[in-house]
Amino acid sequence: MNLQSKVLVIIPAYNEEGSIAAVIQRIRAVSEDLDVVVVNDGSRDNTVQVARAAGATAVIDLPFNLGIGGAMQTGYLYAHKNGYDIALQIDADGQHDPYDIPNVIAPIERGEVNFTVGSRWVEKTAYKSSLMRRVGMIFFSSLIKWVTKETCKDPTSGFRAADKNVIAMFADYYPVDYPEVEVLVHISRNGLKFREVAVEMSERQAGSSSITPLKSIYYMVKVGLAVLISATR
């Protein structure tokens, strides 16, 4: 794959030494032109050393855990400071397939939209998810449809790409926790466009999901509130 634009792949990582090397190597296999920044969010394992050894372009080591929003924003801040045209975010646990990266960034390279979300629902893919996750996604999809009038079937997906406008926006403001859904409303309210792109997703390869049943209730309440408030901005 040859790239016209300067693309940065952002991988936020918290205790992901078991899966991050494979993710970085697969990204490298897709294209040598992709820069990879790993944002270590205060891991207690060897995520930093493993990421360096696997050939990450840069490893940014946060001195303590900021949470997913703070870690992700660090990546966007780095992209903004270093003048990248496109920033792509991908999970460190191996659930996203780097071979989809060209598909995820294509609509942005063509200048059609400002932001893309790699979704497992746009076309039939090989992904099976839990009931709670499905309920959450239906709730968030309806919320986004209602507030932005846009369709997003998988608004919690963390496989995303942003153009320069969105990178600058995220460098300035990014929600602290459970940012995925709120960010879409924020983009739409600022007159920018997003689109879903079909991707493959598999079960996570190592580590564990940070979402417990109690947290998922807090997740829905917090995001619901944040979305409604940002819709009034």
Binding site: I60, P63, G70, L77
Partner: protein, 126 residues
Amino acid sequence: MTVWNTPVIYLLSILFSLFFVLFVLSLVRRRRLREQYSIMWIVLGVIIVVVSLKSSWLILLANLLDVVYAPSLLFLIALLFCFAYLLHLTTVVSKLSDRVVKLTQELAIYQHDEQTHKVPQKQEGR
């Protein structure tokens, strides 16, 4: 119980609020509390001292508001003040958290740039 025809609660109230105001002032003196945050506490303390000394004013206000037991009006004022001040404090905490996140990110990126020699190093020696 009354002393010099004054309910004891008013005397306790005067003593407590005087002590409170002095304590706030000493915190400011020792730079343990910023002036900007101390003003509201001092104002509250002074209000309580005044209504405790001039309890007739409190009773007058209580009558105006149809409050049967005047000291309960004191509680209401203090409680509302606490709510307002707690809300103010949570906004201060939110602002501080945002700044800590921003500083942490800037520091981590700066350290990375320094390690990869993007930042010009200071010359050793003279």
